[in-house]
Each structure stands twice: as C-alpha cells, then as structure tokens.
Amino acid sequence: MVDSAGWPASFGFGRDADTATINKLDIDISPDGRGLPQGGANAIDGSIIYAAKCLACHGGVAMTTGIKFPAPALINNPDSPKVKTIGNYWPYATTIFDYVRRAMPYNAPGSLTNDEVYAVTAYLLHTNKLFDSVTVLNAVLLPKIIMPAQKRFVADDRTGGPVIK
C-alpha cells in the first residue's frame, strides 16, 4: 500500500469515459450472460462457418493419432478422454462466445459478426453433445447451458507454508 498522505482526493488526470468508448471496448461476456448481444444462429449455420474458417487449424473430433493440427482440438471424442476439449473440460459455455468473438479466427480476429459467433458456438456445443442442431442459440439460451466439467473446478487452496499442494 502506498502512503497517500498529502494526496488530493482526486488528481484530476484523465478524462471521463464516454458511453461510445465504453461500448466499443466492452466486449466481454460474463457467465451469467451479461454482455451477450442481440442475434442468434443454430449449429447447422455454424457447421458451414466451421468448415470454412476453423477446421483447417482445429480439425474435427479430438484424435490422439493421425494428423496433428496446429490448434487444439475442440470436439470431444469419448474414445480419447484424456484430450481436453470443450465438452470434457470447459466449465462455461459463455466462454466460447467471448473467446471466438475477440480472438478467432486466429488469422482474422474479431472479423465474425455476432450471428456468426452464435452459429460457431452452437456448432461447437452441438458437436460436443450439449445442444441440438436446429434450435437457434441466443443470449437467453447460452448462459443456461450447464457444462459437464463445471463441477470439477475448484479454487486454488495453496497458502504457502510447508504442505505441498
């Protein structure tokens, strides 16, 4: 903690952030769905986008043999349970939307429309057996999806001291 004795209540540096600036940058999605935009799409729409923009790097169903793709596998394979995928490891479905929108495709991040992001998210959830193929995924339905791995997540309990955790 700094010694703030003698400091003014406010230094007066910086400018008030205007709504336009905030709205432009505030792109994160919370697990309760806060931040999800209007729009929607289903897994069938998503399959076309995935084939065009995602498949080349991520491949399809997770495999432990065969071609090694440059990006991690996303689609669960019950025969390869040790490979971490969305279906067996991600604790929140909203993370898919948040991450795809801001960072994907890798070579053109932020280039997908909101509907396209819903489509890809629906496709990934569907192929991971967590959503059907025809229902339109939107801001209402996405935060309601409970991911199988969520109950496995625990907060770090290390506190220093002699016990190795």
Binding site: S30, Y99, F153, I164
Partner: protein
C-alpha cells in the same frame, strides 16, 4: 596513399606507416564500422571476430555512439518458438535480465501501439468511469520495483541435453516503473462491493484475465518503464499490468481496459488454459502465486568444468515473498549446505545464491532447493505428483533439478520420468 590503403594493417610486426584513414578516426580500418541505421542515426556495429586480428593499442577505436553495443565476442540470444522466447539464464550475471533478453509469451504476436493514441479505460463498478492516456498514467505518483515474471508453464524435462534456458527460461527480472493500481482505484472510486476486475490487452488475442480486487489494493501496478526506459513492445509497450509474484499470464500486456465487477468473468485463459488437474478428479482454477523455486545456472549444460574449486551459482525466487534460504547439494542430494544469498534479498524477486565447492573429479550431481518466507520448501517432482496426481499437467511445476557432472567435466541435466 594507394599502397597504404591496400597495406595489411593487421600485423603487429614492426612500426606501421600512418595513413590518412587511421588519422581520421580509423572508421574503415578499426574493428567497428559506422553505419546509418534505419532512423538515420549513426550507430556503431561490430565486424566479425575474423576481422579482429589487430592490436587495439595501435589503432583509434570507434567514437562514442548514440546507442551502445555488445561485444562481438558475446552471443546472447533467446530461444524462440511460435508463441514464446526463453531467456538464456545460464549466460547471465546478477539478477537483472537485459531488456532485450526478457522472456516472451504471446497469444497473438506483438502489437505496434502508438503511444499518442493509447488510452486505458477503467470502468464497471466505479463512481467515475475514466480513460487515461499514457501521459496521464505518467503524471500519477510513480513507483519502481524489482521483481520477476514467470510463465506458469515454465518446466521442460525429458532429456539430458537441456540448458537452464530450455528447462525454465520463461522467467526474467526487470526493474519496473509505473503507477500503483490502487492509485487509479482511488481516482475512479472503485465501489465497495467490487471484488474482481477484468484486465484486457490490446493485442490480436485481446487477451483477458479476471483478477481479485484484493491484489489491486496490495501491490498491483500499471507499469510503463522497464530497466530505466520505456517498456519494450515485447513486454507490453506502452503499458502493462504487473502483479508481482503471480503467473505471467495474469500480467496482461498492452493493457487497454480494466472493468470492475462482483464476479470473475471466466475467460478462456482462466478456464480452458492455466488450470490443472489435482487430486480427486478436480481442476484447480485461479492458481495465481508462483511457488518458490531455484535452479543452478553454473555449472549447467552445456558448460564444461575442471577439477578443483568451483563456485556453484544460481537463482532462487518465490511469488509468495522473500527467499529465506537456499541449500546446495554436491553429492546427489545426500547432504545439503547452506548457500550464500546475494543482498539485497527482495520480495518476489530473483535472488542470486552461491556455494564454494572443491570438486575432486569424481562423477556426482549438484542440486539446489529454496525455502521461502512462508516456510515452503521447493519440492521434488515426485512430491508434486504425490500431491496432485499423475495427470497434473504442466502448470506450476517448480521441482528441484539436478546437474550431473561427468568425470571429463561435461555437465548434463538429469531428466525425471513421472507419467
């Protein structure tokens, strides 16, 4: 004159004729030539070792330059991959990493950010959402701190021919200068019930992590300078978040936004990544602090030593605070000796240690282990497996490591199997 220009000036036999070139500062004949850089500055650059067969006491050298150089005899480089680069720990002295050798890990490459256009947005659960320019950040009361950064995926294993750089080169140390995050919290009026904040970067990954507000009030900083000058692009120019002692990924580079909330955001980096399996099929999340660690950097692979006196040297650090002690073994872990620590021992900082040892020439192994101020003793790899299970993955591995010294003086890493 022509004869003198073609004359071989590189021999030391007998007095040489003085040529005009030599009198004019010897730019063409000296070991260093003057070049125009892409910015139009005149810089000095070295010619290769093969050209340096001359007596420096007989020739005027290059004049003072605007930017310094490294000796052409020194070859310090990071080891690079698509997403990271590793500090050559075995080639360094002291505990400050030269800025251009600081490790890197990027998820979308290094962005080029114009400092005149840069702004940091601070919003969410605050009284006054605000945008700060780089100039604004520099006007606030400034603080400097020497501390390490470390990637939480900083352990490689698997073969004997591994240098400290390859085993754990994703850690470096700088003197960081900036503004305490608490100063900004004070300025925007963070609300009482805000318990987390999202930190977001302005790179192609637009990377995000959720951070507990408690850390913001403790020792979190927004830093804009590294080792006396503007922070490097590779380390987050023009400003990054610095969370002393916490896993590198949380120290968001190219920081563009901070949003205060009452719950974590569950970003990709804190769910799909930077989490690891522990006992009873659980997955550990929000594993922030880097545990105490040490590594011997001399003798290490690929160095060569001789029988006789050797000063064993290395670095130790802990994300929980100060290193309390380091012990060194020269008999493969049978007995341990207290190592000397280089003062000052700083909290959450690389600390140099040393131990004088007379090697009798028999094959042996040297090891180090660190204890930090919380009483935590650096574990063996087996202890980590026992604590977390064999599916523990690759994060937060800080095991005691061994260097085998062969009779011929070769030094090799001792890999351990645990899967």
């Amino acid at each position: 004159m022509k004869d003198e220009i073609n004359k071989d000036n590189s021999t030391d036999s007998g007095p040489q004729k003085i040529s005009r070139r030599l009198l004019l500062g010897g730019a063409a004949t000296a070991a260093v030539i003057l070049l125009k850089s892409s910015y139009g500055q005149t810089i000095q650059t070295a010619i290769t070792q093969s050209g340096l067969s001359y007596d420096p006491t007989k020739h005027i050298g290059p004049l003072p330059g605007e930017v310094g150089t490294r000796s052409p005899f020194e070859h310090l480089v990071k080891k690079t991959s698509d997403t990271s680069s590793r500090t050559p720990l075995q080639d360094l002295y002291g505990t400050i990493t030269p800025s251009d050798l600081h490790y890197e890990r990027h998820h979308g490459g290094v962005p080029g950010i114009d400092p005149k256009k840069y702004e940091l947005l601070v919003h969410g659960m605050v009284e006054k959402p605000m945008s700060f320019s780089l100039n604004d950040l520099k006007k606030f009361p400034a603080v400097s701190r020497i501390c390490f950064l470390e990637c939480s995926g900083n352990f490689r294993n698997g073969k004997e021919e591994l240098s400290p750089q390859e085993i754990c080169g994703l850690t470096s140390q700088s003197e960081w200068t900036g503004v305490m995050l608490s100063t900004l919290l004070r300025e925007v009026g963070v609300k009482q019930n805000a318990s987390w904040f999202l930190a977001e970067g302005g790179d192609a990954a637009v990377m995000t992590r959720s951070v507990p507000v408690k850390k913001a009030w403790e020792d979190a900083m927004i830093v804009y300078a590294q080792n006396g000058e503007a922070i490097r692009p590779e380390q987050g120019y023009p400003a990054r978040l610095l969370l002393p002692g916490w896993e590198g990924n949380t120290n968001v580079k190219w920081l563009r936004r901070i949003e205060f909330a009452d719950q974590p955001f569950m970003t990709r980096e804190e769910t799909s990544r930077y989490t690891y399996q522990v006992r009873e099929h659980k997955i550990r999340q929000f594993s922030f602090e880097m545990d105490a660690r040490s590594i011997i950097t001399f003798p290490s692979y690929p160095q060569q030593v001789e029988k006789g006196w050797i000063e064993i040297r290395g670095i130790a650090w802990s994300g929980w605070g100060k290193i309390q002690k380091v012990e060194v073994s020269t008999d493969n872990g049978k007995t341990w000796n207290s190592a000397k620590l280089q003062e000052p021992v700083l909290s959450k900082a690389h600390t140099a240690f040393s131990h004088l040892w007379k090697w009798n020439g028999d094959e042996t192994a040297v090891l180090s282990r660190a204890t930090d101020e919380t009483g935590y003793l650096q574990p063996t790899l087996q202890q980590l497996v026992d604590a977390r299970g064999k599916d523990m993955g690759g994060y937060h591995l800080n095991p005691i490591t061994s260097w085998v010294i062969k009779q011929d003086g070769r030094v090799l890493f001792k890999p351990e199997k645990w899967k």
